[in-house]
Assembly symmetry: C2
């Protein structure tokens, strides 16, 4: 998601209210563009582009009742089911209000103002957001400019200074590139006192996971989300995994009702029939191949991706390109502010890739 | 809600992972008891005890679709509707993931570690929770022991020291007592650089609101919730109000998708027909009178309340009392850890009060 600048409140005028913390004044504003997306081909947020199957929706609808809406969320039923689904013990899992709360929870638990936090650039904007909000000393390490590969050497060097938290995405957004597991092992070994998050929001499309490594490395945290392959971005449900000695601290720092009860209800239904997620991921991987082939045939440059999106180099008119695509009902994401000439395109089904290519051909000519 | 102690993670053993912040180690754990509540008469969490009307539930059900679940939440449609409903400008309102996020947002925006924060005691547990999480210097001022009235003089004295944030509930939970508006004005005037939250979670049952005062006092913040009278505790929807110069800072410090899209959908439906909230509040007020009369007739002491709950003095066996009521299918809340001899009982409809009294009579004899 983007780091678009938004207007900062005026400091002038008479009574302006209490002064915010300096960290809030200093932080980079983050305001992703999200309105009026429904009805378009949504290739701009890496969501599930078709949504859950209608028969699962019917099951969710049937379980909805007024009493369930009126009571505070209960997590006792869903936790063992999630644990089984992800292959961990119940005590190794924390439910979160999307991956965003997982990030915030890690920062709140481990990072004091002034502490050193490392993030990569470009990566998911909320890593920087929460680190800055906490007043952390933020260190940003750039991905390699030529092939957007993981800057392993630079990160290892940066870890020579005492660091409280490293926030990584694997595969990374928006680059689509992955971190090999042996490199992750080397990082976890190099900084045993540093909490290291591996955000696996796009795991279902890459098949690479560090989750079993939580039994090997007590400084490892892994997050997963229901917002991408699972088709529940609206409901804000994520899971954060680590050793039980760590999750006990995370839960102590967590608000008791951050995850809503409807997300819990929906997840309970979906976990009974999770096959649709695999099927969707299979379609995306096939569509990704199709998209890359079409781009290659047209001589359009792109970065190979292990996620459900591809970075395409459209040249210096990214804004015009995105607008022209939008006029054709296709939403894509301008990432040129951090990757010159680049637009990020979510990969949906093979049919949706065809629709994207048709619009691309009109715009390109 | 209660501040029950929960076990703290062991520090022993071999590899225990990164050390959490001292503030997290030091904070009082908060773990409200919530499981297996459905099917009982729920008089323990001050929720709406009957839920939204079934015809409104049908409308919500009808609008649910797979695309809506798959996309990130959009707030552009609901914000002007909420603003109209509460009688403020759209820029004077921040949507929050329950009142809990409103409290966290105020702390994140205004409170650095070491800054002074004032809360009352007893009051809603999350005020202390977020202040401690931030590493604030927490000052707790006790309510007057005899009649649980608001300690105005003590609070004014405490405000003589530079304070970043004051967190108040009106009516207060669990006391049920209110803060007169002229006293609120005096506080807002006395500490113009201090952010003062008036949490009006129970406003619908008291009819007293500080909301119009945001135009007079740039240091005032008011919160409302859909978790109590509105019957949506499951969905975690709250609103935080202040001058637009303040809300702009709050929004800058807020995660962009903290409120889930289903809460937005449900609120859109309910705001079209909000009459049920007034009708429910009317029933609760009538039932509250009935309850207090029944307690008086039985010579059982209680504290008069402006909220949808009443503190009842059941003597030194509060735990046994709560268990005996639970065996009769009636859930009430033991508050004796902060108010000796006291149990908090949510007021529902007049019929539910009758059911409560019948169970009480069995237990009492």
């Amino acid at each position: 998601m983007s780091g678009v600048q938004q207007p900062v409140p005026s400091q002038g005028g008479a009574a302006v209210g209490p002064r915010p913390r300096q960290a809030v004044i200093d932080m980079v504003a983050y305001s992703p563009p999200t309105s009026g997306r429904a009805g378009n081909l949504r290739l701009d947020f890496n969501e599930n582009t078709v949504g859950i199957p209608s028969w699962l929706l019917e099951k969710i609808r049937a379980r909805l009742d007024a009493e369930h809406l009126a009571v505070y969320p209960e997590y006792e039923q869903i936790r063992p089911k999630l644990a089984r689904h992800f292959g961990v013990h119940e005590n190794e899992l924390v439910l979160t209000n999307g991956t965003d709360e997982a990030i915030q929870l890690l920062v709140n638990t481990y990072v004091n103002a002034g502490d050193r936090v490392i993030v990569l650039r470009p990566s998911y904007a909320m890593y920087r957001f929460y680190a800055q909000l906490a007043g952390a000393q933020l260190v940003e390490i750039p991905y390699h400019a030529t092939d957007l590969s993981f800057p392993m050497e630079e990160l290892l060097q940066a870890l020579a200074w005492q660091t409280r938290l490293v926030l990584l995405a694997n595969p990374n957004n928006p680059t689509g590139t992955t971190i090999p597991l042996d490199q992750l092992r080397a990082l976890l070994t190099a900084a045993p006192q540093t909490a290291i998050l591996v955000d696996e929001a796009y795991y279902e499309f890459s098949g690479i996971t560090a989750l079993p490594l939580i039994y090997e490395f007590p400084n490892l945290f892994v997050s997963r989300t229901f917002s991408k392959a699972y088709g529940l971005a609206s409901l804000r449900l994520g899971c954060l995994f680590s050793r039980s000695s760590n999750t006990a601290w995370l839960r102590k720092a967590q608000s008791p009702y951050s995850v809503n009860g409807f997300a819990v209800l929906a997840a309970e239904v979906l976990l009974e029939e999770p096959g649709y997620v695999e099927e969707y991921a299979r379609q995306v991987k096939s569509a990704r191949e199709k998209l890359c082939q079409a781009l290659t045939e047209r001589g359009i440059r792109f970065f190979p991706s292990q996620a459900n999106f591809v970075l395409i180099q459209v040249g210096d008119r990214t804004r015009l390109f995105c607008e022209a695509m939008r006029r054709r009902g296709v939403l894509v994401r301008d990432r040129s502010y951090e990757l010159p000439g680049c637009v990020r395109v979510t990969v949906g089904t093979p049919d949706q890739v065809e629709r994207f290519i048709a619009a691309l051909d009109e715009v390109w000519s």
